[in-house]
């Protein structure tokens, strides 16, 4: 048992915190206001080696490891949640290619992702297949020396800015077999559709994708035929740790604004932080966020050792996102009317964090994963 971070992890924390506070946080309100994809932030992440944290330098990565990754993502999201989710999905895409890709796929895509030539995207969700991911209906039928993709994907983060998108599609109708493909943006028949207007993480691009007779070579398959769902689920285990970290980062920022505000704001002749009504909110939020952070660290420690961690990742994601939402609600309440206006960042934090209980597996899916592990 050792609750300390290593020196290297502490350095990552300090460096990314500095970057996020100096560069990302000051732009976050404007990025949100204009729903603008912060390409300059993505470039900065690339320069600092934060887009390929889960694979080695031989592929352009920084191989910082899952613990440092969780820390870095938390800090980035604390400054700008939109930048955080972009970073999360790019790292997740790279990790999937590193784990399941052929040598040529790794050699081709991983350096591009790490260098920020484009983002990575992960296309699993469809208009009719959300939590029931296996119910997707995009096809990829074998045709000569390639596959032809037909169908559409929904709610794809980074979809408009990706240099490579992992697309899950049915390669066999009966029995249903799902396979994964690496699709490049200029592939004929592949089109980026509607950009969604969202409640929060407005700087992150969320788009639909459509595939119409989109022909990809056989060499674009990630992993073996039929391995798609396995790749998706194991990638999401890692992704969930990312989203849990994102939630902690957002909520910590909200809590820190609320704590500062409670110290300064005076009502009834005293700082509102002297009222127990306010103290209680701060204490509960801080306690739950510490617990969330420990659940995340436990899950990433298991991952780092190559041990199974699905249940623990689900617990971390469920707990961190729900606790993070509660913390942001409380923080907004502490600020009262000022919490509701855009002069303060807390209303953005609340809008941003709302999605964390939904994407990469809703809270309901996390509870399914956990209860299945319990009930056996």
């Amino acid at each position: 048992m050792d609750f300390r971070l290593t020196d290297e992890q502490l350095q990552v924390e300090e460096m990314v915190r500095g970057l996020s506070r100096k560069e990302f946080a000051p732009r976050a309100a404007q990025v949100d206001e204009e729903s603008r994809y912060p390409a300059e932030n993505h470039r900065r992440l690339a320069e600092l080696g934060l887009l390929g944290m889960l694979y080695p330098a031989s592929f352009g990565g920084s191989e910082a490891g899952p613990v440092s990754y969780a820390i870095a993502l938390r800090e980035v999201a604390g400054g700008c949640a939109s930048t955080g989710v972009g970073m999360a999905v790019t790292n997740m895409t790279g990790e999937a290619i590193f784990r399941f890709g052929s040598d040529s796929q790794r050699g081709h895509y991983l350096p591009m992702l790490a260098a920020g030539k484009g983002a990575g995207a992960f296309a699993l969700t469809e208009p009719g297949a959300g939590s029931d991911a296996a119910g997707l209906s995009t096809f990829a039928l074998e045709d000569g020396d390639g596959y032809v993709l037909d169908g559409s994907k929904a709610f794809i983060t980074n979809g408009a800015n990706a240099c490579v998108t992992i697309v899950m599609a049915l390669t066999l109708k009966s029995p249903r077999k799902i396979s994964a493909f690496l699709v490049e943006p200029d592939t004929p028949g592949f089109r980026v559709g509607k950009r969604e207007h969202k409640m929060g993480i407005r700087g992150s691009d969320t788009v639909s994708l459509s595939f119409e007779e989109c022909r990809v070579p056989k060499s674009s398959m990630l992993g073996a035929p039929g391995e798609g769902l396995k790749i998706a689920l194991s990638t999401l285990d890692g992704g969930r740790i990312g989203i849990a970290s994102q939630a902690i980062g957002i909520a910590r920022s909200a809590l820190s604004t609320a704590t500062e505000y409670a110290r300064d704001r005076r009502q009834f002749g005293q700082a509102i932080g002297e009222f127990q009504a306010i103290q209680w909110k701060l204490a509960d939020a801080a306690t739950e966020l510490d617990a969330a952070q420990l659940l995340v660290f436990r899950a990433v420690s298991l991952k780092e050792k190559g041990l199974p961690y699905s249940k623990e990742a689900s617990m971390a994601k469920l707990f961190a996102t729900e606790a993070g939402n509660r913390a942001c609600h409380s923080a907004l309440q502490v600020l009262g009317g000022y919490g509701y206006i855009r002069e303060y960042p807390v209303e953005r934090h609340l809008r941003d964090i709302r999605v964390t209980t939904i994407y990469e597996g809703t809270s309901e899916i996390q509870r399914l994963v956990i209860s299945r592990a319990l009930c056996g």
Binding site: M1, D2, F3, R4, L5, T6, Q9, V67, T259, A262, R263, G273, Q276, I278, Q279, W280, L282, A283, D284, A286, T287, E288, D290, A291, A292, L294, L295, F297, R298, V300, S301, L302, E312, M315, L318, F319, E364, Q366, R367, L368, I370, S371, R372, L374, C375
Partner: protein, 380 residues
């Protein structure tokens, strides 16, 4: 960041789990029903070294760390929360302050027998009029040569009826409020010490709780812990450790709620299927399990910090606050999953509910924990 248990921590977990399952669990319902102090279990636990886990061997303890203590507390409390609190008070509230603040002579005389489980300790801080506001003590200690003369009444004292030794808090200078508090080690056999009302409680009924009355009790000056006026500091240090014990107790109770509800939900069939196949039940189980894991990580973190002599007041309060409230939620859900069977004493779910409630109250209410945590936050 390493979450693995050490060899020693795993060993005590196995030992405590096995002992709890074989010896403690079969008796828990009867102990509760009869409000019977489990003397035989305490003797067995003494042999296992559980009465002074984090006390060095030279002072009669097992010489392990505070993570070991939290682990053993969880396992014992999983089987019987009453037995858990008896152990916790002895370890955290009686042994620990003497280890930290007692003179060598006092350690030899009182700590060695207590840590080895030959004697039992209690902790006299609470008074009828002084609960969360521990600074408002009325019990007085007046210096008289090599002695202090103690007068006053302590209330809700766990282990009091069986205790041989009391770590007692008194006022030596009323004008200084909490800075006028002084702590002593008092022999319960002393002339003038008597037991008051034996409380009937909602839960942890096998643990005895009574008031202690001190009438012109002459306590040797050498039994003082620290200096005059150090008492509040002694109490706060002690409770920082005690809260780790109660957090672990709460986790044990929560686990009991979960494990019992889980096995019930697999057997119980309604609408043609086991009720654990309904999402309504699955959700409750998933939430309890997640919260238990969160609570345990907070608790082990605090214990780990105590082992490293790091300041851990805030972390202990977070562990205690979170674990006790999570245990209460777990116990409420545990009863609900059992339905009518959760309400009758044939099943242990209702006992867990009654036992869980106290963890939100003693050794600092949830409200006091929130005060500690928010003060640390606002101080920045």
């Amino acid at each position: 960041m390493v979450f693995d248990l050490t060899e020693e921590q795993r060993m005590i977990q196995d030992t405590a789990r096995e002992f709890a399952r074989k010896e403690v669990l079969p008796k828990a319902a009867e102990l509760d029903e009869n409000s019977r102090f489990p003397e035989e279990l305490i003797r067995q636990m003494a042999e296992l070294g559980f009465m002074g886990i984090a006390v060095p061997e030279e002072y009669g303890g097992a010489g392990m760390d505070n993570v070991c203590y939290a682990i053993a507390m969880e396992e014992i409390s999983r089987a019987c929360a009453s037995t858990g609190v008896i152990m916790s008070v002895n370890n955290s509230l009686a042994c620990d302050p003497i280890l930290k603040f007692g003179s060598e002579e006092i350690k030899r005389e009182y700590l060695v027998p207590m840590a080895s489980g030959k004697t039992l300790g209690c902790f006299g801080l609470t008074e009828p009029g002084s609960g969360s506001d521990a600074g408002s003590q009325k019990t007085t200690a007046v210096r008289d040569g090599d002695f202090y003369v103690v007068d006053g009444t302590k209330n809700f004292i766990t282990n009091a009826p069986q205790a041989d030794t009391c770590v007692l808090f008194t006022m030596t200078d009323k004008s200084k409020a909490h800075k006028g508090i002084t702590a002593f080690v008092v022999d319960m056999e002393c002339k003038g010490v008597s037991l008051g009302k034996h409380e009937k409680k909602m839960g942890i009924r096998a643990s005895a709780t009574s008031s202690i009355i001190f009438e012109e009790v002459r306590v040797p000056a050498r039994n003082r812990l620290g200096n005059e006026g150090d008492g509040f500091k002694v109490a706060m240090h002690t409770l920082d450790g005690g809260r780790i014990g109660i957090a672990a107790q709460a986790i044990g109770i929560a686990r009991a709620s979960l494990e019992d509800a889980l096995s019930y939900s697999k057997d119980r069939k309604q609408f043609g299927q086991a009720i654990c196949d309904f999402q309504a039940i699955q959700w409750m189980l998933a939430d309890i399990a997640t919260e238990i894991d969160a609570a345990r990580l907070l608790t082990w973190r605090a214990a780990w910090m105590k082992d490293r002599k790091m300041r851990h007041s805030k972390e202990s309060s977070m562990a205690k606050l979170y674990a006790s409230e999570a245990a209460m939620r777990a116990a409420v859900k545990g009863v609900q999953i059992h339905g009518g069977y959760g309400y009758i004493s044939e099943y242990p779910a209702e006992r867990h509910f009654r036992d869980a409630k106290i963890t939100e109250i003693y050794e600092g209410t949830s409200e006091i924990q929130r005060l500690v945590i928010s003060a640390a936050l606002l101080k920045g």
